[in-house]
């Protein structure tokens, strides 16, 4: 990449810090330059976040339809999958899988609910109802 081609399309990171790029001059010699962001990258990031928003909305609908427990919704909000939830809570993966069923979730002890509430950073009451998290 030529130095004059260093992209300067202000992106989410550019507002906080510029990033180092390695660039060449006309004779191909390297130096570094600072970039504010690149539209190609910001759009890739946007695509990822649009997908996350869609997954959150679909999880929410599944919870409302009683096809999944509210854990699914909060997992999507926190970008977590079952192995990550298991790693943070200390539950086994098969336990988390079971807790994703509405019937099992309803019978969970307060102690277990509290663990989930902690990693999802919400009060236990919100965890049960998704209240205050209407998207």
């Amino acid at each position: 990449m030529k130095k004059e081609d260093t992209p300067q399309d202000l992106g989410p990171l550019g507002k906080i810090t510029k990033e180092v790029c390695y660039v060449v001059d006309d004779s191909g010699n390297y130096s570094t330059d600072l970039s504010n962001g690149w539209e190609v990258k910001s759009k890739a990031l946007d695509a990822a976040w649009d997908d996350i928003a869609a997954r959150v909305a679909s999880a929410r609908q599944k919870v409302l339809n009683q096809e999944a427990s509210p854990l699914l919704y909060f997992m999507e909000v926190k970008l977590m999958d079952i192995p990550i939830v298991a790693a943070y809570t200390g539950f086994w993966k098969w336990q988390v899988k079971k807790h994703l069923k509405p019937a099992v979730f309803k019978k969970l002890s307060d102690r277990k609910l509290k663990k989930y509430a902690e990693i999802f950073e919400v009060p236990v009451e919100d965890l049960k109802t998704m209240k205050g998290h209407e998207g």
Partner: protein, 338 residues
């Protein structure tokens, strides 16, 4: 307590931590490209049956931790590395180091890294930063991807040091354990070791998923993505590829530009025309990777989407594979004088 330490911005976090810690230890001639090249940082792998964040598992660089380990080893510098099961002990040992005047490299997760923009905070656990002091409850942080040094409260630092999930850092910290002078001859030899190892990783790994063969393999897969998963999902997959390739830490062009810079800096230790020529091939390769990103963006922005548009990416990746194969073959044929 505060270690006398100079913050240094780098393209890539582990290169940056390695460079800063080595410079602090008196290896003044080390630079980010040298650390990356001596650590044989350039790589490619595409693991078809794995997914990361619901997208393809692609890496443009070697496994986290190896650059620091290999570079220090090649330069004859002993390293201390510790993991912890107890958060209290992890904090205590860190404080002990700071009190002893040692800046410390830490592996952290970025999901809870408060000074990162929200858009960048995924569950990625192989970020690296340096802790170089503590004032009241605030740890002083030199994060190589940031322009300025920053800080984290002890709770915030504990949280990122003990992020969970894949590649969980487990409080891991590391630093060179002895101050040693490194001679030009040592650097000269380390460069050769680094290049030879990189030739091996890019050309000689059996199977078709790693090295230049992996690039070709990914190209052939991408040609089929549109039919296999539909345009929407294929676009998301391409977006993830672009993020791995261009995001913060890569220096652009999937680390290819940093490697080109490395070969040029190697010239100072091995004056050979081949190095300059091969450096230019990596610049060309990085530029082609950037074209892959631009073409992919056309697809995930919805401007492009025909089978032909996917084939363009496949063709570009074939060209890149051939170019990088040539470049590494060229490196493997160099007769080093030492």
């Amino acid at each position: 307590m505060k270690v006398n330490f100079e913050h240094l911005q780098a393209a890539h976090c582990e290169n940056g931590v390695t460079t800063s810690l080595l410079r602090h230890n008196g290896v003044e001639k080390i630079t980010e490209p040298l650390a990356f090249g001596i650590g044989s940082g350039l790589f490619f792998v595409y693991i078809p049956f794995w997914k990361i964040n619901n997208g393809p598992a692609v890496a443009f660089r070697t496994r986290p931790g190896l650059i620091f380990k290999r570079t220090c080893k090649s330069l004859g510098i002993p390293v201390t590395r510790k993991k912890f099961s107890s958060k209290e002990e992890a904090a205590r040992i860190l404080d002990d180091c700071l009190r002893a005047g040692i800046p410390v490299g830490c592996q952290v997760g970025v999901y809870y890294l408060t000074y990162f923009p929200k858009e960048y905070r995924f569950h990625f656990n192989a970020h690296n930063l340096i802790v170089f002091g503590k004032e009241d409850d605030q740890y002083l942080i030199s994060d190589p991807v940031m322009e300025q040094a920053t800080s984290l409260s002890s709770y915030e630092l504990e949280r990122v040091r003990f992020a969970r999930g894949p590649l969980a850092p487990k409080g891991q910290l590391y630093f060179p354990s002895e101050k040693k002078t490194v001679t030009d001859d040592q650097i000269r030899e380390a460069i050769v070791t680094g290049i030879k190892r990189n030739v091996r990783d890019m050309l000689r790994i059996p199977g078709n998923i790693a090295g230049v063969k992996g690039i070709r393999f990914l190209g052939n897969r991408i040609r089929k993505w549109r039919d296999k998963m539909g345009q929407q999902k294929a676009g998301l997959y391409l977006a993830q590829l672009v993020r791995m390739q261009e995001e913060i830490g890569t220096g652009g062009g999937g680390f290819r530009f940093i490697y080109g810079a490395f070969l040029q800096q190697a010239l100072a230790y091995h004056p050979m025309d081949e190095l300059m020529n091969i450096s230019k091939q990596f610049t060309r390769s990085g530029d082609l990777w950037r074209n892959v990103a631009i073409q992919s963006a056309g697809i995930y922005k919805g401007r492009l989407g025909s089978q032909q548009d996917f084939d363009v990416i496949g063709d570009l990746l074939n060209e890149i594979a051939e170019l990088e194969r040539n470049a590494f073959e060229g490196l493997s044929k160099i007769k080093w004088h030492s």
